[in-house]
């Protein structure tokens, strides 16, 4: 178990290096540079060049890259010239809002998705199964920003039940969290359904039935835990995607999290902030995946024993 964690952390170092390198290249490959954005369209070429030089952006890319990696290793993520403060500080300030949103969406997706998947999978081709199947296909195909706007139109503008944007009360979280969770809920429901259907065909389920258990007892007592393993894996992986989805949802609902910070930073060519935020998200995703792996070793004693030596 410890060896498994150590190995995963070592791989994690390489993943972070890859993520840092990739985002370093991407922000610089995008047209425009920080100085011209900061100084505006009226600035002269010399002014732009002088500012870029003072930001160290006139050096050869390789030199910048090595310097950047050296800084990252020393946990120095650079200054945001635009916000005039350390980039990671700005990112950390926004992290709680995004985590809050992501966790709320995950909780919703897991609770609703698992329940729907269980009910649908417990009676394949039943009425619930058919409704769930149709709905989940639809949910997965709608783009998040569109769903967000539709929900605002319906619940905020139409029914006037919920606030359309901003933060403050728990009610403010409902629409963004639901929007973010819908495609995720669909994935969890579909996966749970298929894995419950599969588990219900296992011989040990026949054994459970031979004990005179009711179908519900068989479903919850025997099929559920065995079908959770793939679900836990996908939840871990999807939470990374969810943080990506949060970037869009936060912008639709003016939610002051990492997503809106990143979009601002990209628009302003604020390289340090984009890089710091990306690295942080990569780190969080990595940790979540590790947690998912540890969790399913808890669920399946066979994996626990194999890796435990």
């Amino acid at each position: 178990m410890t060896r498994m964690i150590m190995r995963r952390l070592l791989i994690g170092v390489f993943v972070m290096w890859g993520a840092a390198s990739l985002i370093f290249v991407i922000v610089r490959a995008a047209p425009g540079d920080p100085a011209s954005v900061l100084l505006g369209p009226d600035a002269s070429r010399e002014q732009v060049a002088r500012l870029n030089a003072s930001l160290g952006l006139d050096r050869p890319l390789l030199v910048q890259y090595v310097g950047y990696l050296g800084d990252v290793v020393r946990l120095d993520f650079g200054e945001s010239h635009r916000l005039a403060r350390p980039a990671m500080g700005a990112v950390f300030e926004r992290l709680p809002a995004t985590l809050e949103l992501t966790l709320a969406a995950t909780a919703l997706a897991v609770i609703v998705g698992l329940t729907l998947g269980l009910v649908a999978g417990g009676r394949p081709d039943g009425i619930v199964d058919r409704v769930v199947s149709a709905t989940t296909v639809a949910l997965q195909s709608f783009p998040t920003f569109w769903v967000g706007i539709m929900l605002i139109l319906l619940f905020a503008l139409g029914l006037r039940l919920l606030p359309s944007a901003g933060v403050g009360t728990p009610a403010h979280m409902v629409l963004p969290a639901v929007t973010l969770s819908l495609p995720f809920t669909a994935i969890v429901a579909r996966l749970t359904r298929s894995s419950v259907v599969e588990a219900m065909r296992e011989p040990y389920v026949t054994t459970a039935r031979s004990k005179g258990l009711t179908e519900t007892q068989v479903l919850l007592g025997h099929a559920l835990r065995n079908s959770l393993i793939p679900v836990v894996t996908i939840v871990g992986l999807q939470m990374g995607a969810l943080m990506g989805g949060a970037v869009i949802v936060e912008n639709v609902f003016a939610w002051p999290g990492l997503g809106s910070l990143i979009v601002d930073a990209v628009a302003n060519r604020d390289y340090a902030v984009v890089q710091a935020a990306t690295l942080l998200i990569a780190g969080v995703v990595m940790v979540l995946n590790l947690v998912a792996d540890l969790l399913y070793t808890r669920l399946d004693p066979r994996i626990r024993m194999d890796g435990g030596s």
Partner: protein, 327 residues
């Protein structure tokens, strides 16, 4: 027809099982009748596809979805095929229980052995501590050494034979009167097979349990069963007392089966394998389903389905020419 309705614990009468097939339903069990008197062991013999497992599943009510049944499964005077789902469920585990061919697949990989064995007790409201003690006792009786420790282990930590012992403990937890054992030793090593059979026989004798032993293996059945039912292509070919049926078969199929097994009757090293492929419910020949493989087959066998009839004291055969087979 069962000859002594009052005496039998279980009477299977004209049992029919249809499974949904590609174009039409498949009749996998066709008019099967036999009795299991209380405290006795009946062996159900047949090749794969003979319908023996489906017969057992029909008795306990665990046929796959979409299966349709006909005839009667009379349990202590009550027809289970026409009982409600709640009644059927209550019979399972408490009155009739079942053990399966592959104990690794039949045990839940994510639960400790003790919990699986004791589940039926816990569901019946036995307190945790008491259930734990009974589980240890059950495992001990099933011959699992160090039962206190092993109750806390998972199925993958058990050997094949130990898993089947745990499965037997599980099946006995609800104090059933009938145990259906579906190929209980097929997945095990030969040396382990004998020990499991001995265990089943001793439990059966000590508890006065009735047992239906389903197997393709004549040696297994000869070892424990008092009565045997030989099935072929979903129908009963022959039934009667085990020793008599194996010594003096009254059906050419039984005779061929006995001859195909090296160690049971003959002492020659070479057995006589059955010619041809077994008939299956999907392509059951007209007339007697065994006629294409039968050395005695003649015109009547191709045309007329033989009815099962009494050909000697307690000897029943579905062969037109049973008298010729009986030596």
């Amino acid at each position: 027809m069962p000859e002594n309705p009052a005496g039998a614990l279980l009477q299977v009468a004209d049992l029919v099982v249809d499974l949904p097939g590609g174009k039409s339903d498949l009749r996998v069990v066709d008019g099967v009748s036999f009795d299991v008197p209380a405290g006795t062991t009946v062996g159900l013999i047949g090749e794969s596809g003979s319908g023996k497992t489906m017969t057992a599943l029909a008795i306990i009510g665990l046929l796959p979805g979409g299966a349709a049944t006909g005839g009667q499964v009379v349990w202590r005077g009550e027809d289970l095929l026409h009982a409600g789902p709640t009644r059927r469920r209550r019979v399972r585990g408490h009155e009739i229980s079942m053990i399966f061919q592959d104990p690794l697949a039949a045990l839940n990989p994510t639960q400790r052995i003790g919990r699986q064995v004791g589940e039926i007790l816990r569901r019946d409201g036995v307190p945790r501590g008491e259930a734990g003690r009974r589980v240890v006792e059950l495992l001990d009786r099933a011959g699992v050494p160090d039962p206190v420790r092993r109750a806390r282990e998972y199925p993958h930590q058990f050997s094949g034979g130990m898993r089947q012992r745990a499965m037997i403990a599980l099946a006995l937890a609800g104090r059933p009167s009938l145990l259906l054992a579906d190929e209980p030793t097929t997945a095990l090593d030969v040396t382990v097979q004998a020990r499991i059979l001995r265990l089943l026989r001793s439990i059966q004798e000590r508890d006065g349990l009735a047992m239906l032993l389903v197997s393709h293996d004549l040696r297994v059945v000869a070892h424990v069963a008092g009565q045997v039912v030989v099935m072929y292509a979903g129908r009963v070919a022959e039934r009667g007392p085990a020793r008599q049926v194996l010594d003096r078969p009254a059906h050419p199929y039984t005779r061929a089966l006995v001859r195909s097994v090296p160690a049971v009757r003959t002492r020659t090293a070479l057995a006589h394998p059955l010619p041809g492929a077994p008939a299956t419910p999907a392509n059951r020949p007209a007339g007697c389903p065994f006629h294409p493989r039968c050395p005695l087959a003649r015109e009547r066998c191709r045309l007329e389905v033989p009815a099962i009839r009494e050909v000697g004291p307690d000897r029943w055969s579905a062969c037109h020419f049973a008298e010729e087979v009986l030596p």
